[in-house]
């Protein structure tokens, strides 16, 4: 099979990316604006011997993908705003039990039922801290249909490599817009699969503190082990040993924090000589790049930084970018979320960091960002 050019929606590209990554199980509950992902996979998964199930709710869907992953199937679920809220409890279970799964959230307005058919970027903090307790998380944010395909593959790869849930945050604009994209030949894609143990079954420890990421056999492969959402020892059995729990919690966080070079990705545009930095992600970055180009034409030295990995947050790179300028604009389709992170990592110098925000279900247009660039210049 060679490369093929196709005209797809972001949601469809996400489903295609999942298939390219080797997904074998989808469980979900219909919700706008994510439903096309379920619809494509309900048709395509059986063709490759995979399984699709429409569960009774979002909570059940999240549980089912964890169960299927433990039985050895690469698994994915997709949802939007309110559904993402419902998934949080079992998302935390996947974090502490270190089960690889991919969760797609095609963001819509909120809180509550909000604006079901409109765009939003207001779940970015829920992606980080939605489930209770300290926990690691990876979240990726595509800005195009083509990137939705590739980041879905990458979401599976990171999930398998680090034994952790990975969240893919599309906004409704990315999920529903159509673009011509190139789907690569499967041989061109790097596909990562979880490590399986090579030791004897009686020697296997699913949560060995001495390893950052332990191998994970599937149920039924002869390594019988216990999985629990309770804090556990190396065997997976519950423990109240405070020293052990502290160490294991730190291991959970460090298995990502020690590998930021591998996990963090971003793109920069015209940042070498910039005097004003625009810091944008998802579909908003498309408006931002147009605004930056327009500003350049008008003689204003603007640049764009676009985080692709949103969590873990690219602290060091963001600090480096912000340090280059005195003025930073953070446009977001929410009333100010990631701007807080940008401020958190900024040096305490005279740097003016302002937002361009809307939460009315509409996308931020280039002119709004350009106006702010001009106002600051």
């Amino acid at each position: 099979m060679a490369k093929k050019k196709v005209f797809l929606q972001g949601n469809e590209a996400c489903a295609e990316g999942a298939l390219a990554a080797g997904v074998k199980f989808f469980a979900g509950y219909p919700i706008t604006p994510s439903s096309e992902i379920a619809e494509v996979l309900s048709r395509r998964l059986p063709m490759v011997g995979g399984k699709f199930i429409q569960m009774e709710d979002e909570i059940a869907s999240m549980g089912a993908v964890i169960g299927a992953s433990l039985a050895g199937a690469k698994s994915i679920t997709a949802t939007s705003g309110p559904g993402f809220s419902l998934k949080q409890e079992n998302l935390g279970f996947a974090c502490i039990t270190e089960v690889p799964v991919v969760v797609v959230n095609v963001m819509r307005g909120g809180p509550s039922t909000g604006l079901p058919t409109c765009t939003s970027q207001s779940d970015v903090m829920q992606a980080r801290w939605g489930t209770h307790g300290d926990h690691p998380i990876i979240a990726l944010v595509p800005w195009s249909v083509e990137e939705s395909f590739h980041l879905t593959v990458r979401a599976f790869n990171l999930s398998e490599k680090y034994r952790t849930p990975v969240i893919l945050l599309l906004d409704e604009v990315v999920g529903h817009m159509r673009e011509a994209i190139e789907i690569p030949d499967p041989s061109e894609l790097e596909i990562v699969n979880r490590k399986k143990p090579t030791c004897k079954p009686e020697e296997y420890l699913p949560y060995d503190l001495n390893n950052e990421v332990n191998p994970l056999p599937a149920f039924g492969e002869g390594y019988r082990f216990h999985v629990t959402g309770l804090n556990h020892d190396a065997t997976g059995f519950p423990t109240n040993d405070s020293k052990l729990v502290q160490k294991d919690e730190e291991r959970l966080m460090n298995k990502l924090l020690n590998h930021l070079d591998d996990i963090l990705t971003w793109e920069e545009y015209m940042t070498d000589d910039m005097e004003i930095l625009v810091y944008a992600y998802g579909s908003t970055a498309r408006s931002a790049i147009a605004a930056v180009k327009q500003a350049r034409e008008e003689g204003i030295k603007a640049g764009l930084f676009r985080p692709i990995t949103l969590w873990p947050f690219p602290d060091d790179k963001t600090r480096e970018m912000v340090s280059k300028v005195k003025k930073v604009i953070v446009p977001e389709v929410n009333l100010g979320m990631i701007i807080g992170e940008v401020k958190r990592v900024s040096p305490k110098e005279d740097i003016n960091i302002v937002g361009v925000n809307r939460a009315d279900g509409e996308t931020i247009v280039p002119q709004q960002i350009l106006d702010k660039i001009k106002e600051l210049s």
Binding site: K24, F25, A27, R43, P46, M47, G49, K51, I53, M55, E56, D57, I59, A60, S61, M62, G63, A64, V65, I66, G67, A68, S69, L70, A71, G72, A73, S75, E89, N90, F93, A218, F219, G220, E221, G222, R224, F225, H226, V227, T228, G229, L230, F237, P238
Partner: protein, 272 residues
């Protein structure tokens, strides 16, 4: 090696259950039933939710999955769909299965996905200290029913039958030998099988309801749980306060993962 040694994680004992609790008896029944059917440890995934009963998988040497409160059935559904050859046993409590997990319970039964679900019913939330559950009888006392429970209870077996389970039975830990047989039948059944296991909770239920010792509670089960054959012949007056035990549903109907395999075959033949 005794069958208990064969199936237990001996190093994980002592267990956490209170003196007088019947979950150890139920666990032994499960092991004897598995041994009779002859399923290998590797071929069993035992899934549970949260609560006293749901700690069972920790003590047994299978692939074991102790999930979130009420959610055992969705996790079990995922395991079964990814590996249809796996034997799935779900251990859940009355609160876990019929309150927070009520929706999952009826839908798993409706799909008729092949698994054996043991609903351990002690009429109370034991692990959280004795709050009333959807099966707590009316008038009984609980920490959150200090004036007596006014809610009508669920009948777990009627609920499972109405939702579409292909095998439904009720036993008690007093009637341990018949319980072995009910669980064995459930394990052999292709489809969604439910065995409600009545269990005494002297600590959280009995103590507040004039049944303060394990012996009193066991005697209560002995006297009030009547084999279904006998119960069906009793008059309405005689039935008051009595609970039938035995098999209520044993029917053949299409099983979910088998139907799914047919769907895969159809999809693949269309794609050719």
């Amino acid at each position: 090696m005794s069958i208990y040694e064969k199936y237990m994680r001996i190093d994980k004992f002592p267990h956490i259950w209170c003196p007088g609790c019947g979950y150890g008896i139920a666990m032994k029944s499960v092991m004897r039933a598995i041994d009779r059917v002859g399923i290998k440890n590797d071929d069993i995934t035992m899934v549970s939710g949260i609560g006293c009963s749901s700690r069972t998988p920790g003590y047994l040497d299978f692939n074991t999955l102790h999930t979130t409160h009420g959610r055992a059935l969705p996790f079990a559904t995922g395991v079964k769909m990814a590996k249809p050859e796996m034997n799935i046993i779900v251990v859940t409590g009355d609160g876990d299965a019929t309150a927070i997990g009520g929706n999952h319970f009826i839908h798993a039964a409706r799909r008729n996905i092949d698994m054996t679900v043991l609903v351990y019913n002690n009429y109370i939330y034991g692990m959280t200290g004795g709050q009333y559950s959807p099966t707590t009888p009316q008038g009984k006392f609980a920490t959150t029913a200090p004036y007596g429970n006014i809610e009508p209870p669920f009948d777990v077996c009627n609920l499972a039958a109405a939702a579409g389970a292909s095998f439904v039975a009720r036993g008690t830990v007093y009637h341990a030998v018949p319980l072995d047989k009910l669980i064995e039948q459930a394990l052999r059944k292709k489809g969604f099988s439910v065995v409600e296991v009545l269990n005494p909770c002297p600590t959280s239920f009995g103590r507040r309801n004039k049944q303060p010792t394990p012996v009193i509670m066991m005697n209560w089960m002995k006297e009030n749980c009547i084999p279904k054959v006998k119960y069906d012949k009793m008059s309405d007056e005689e039935k008051v306060g009595k609970i039938p035990i035995g098999v209520f549903v044993d029917i053949e109907k299409p099983e979910y993962t088998e139907q799914y395999q047919l769907l895969i075959d159809r999809a693949q033949s269309l794609a050719k």
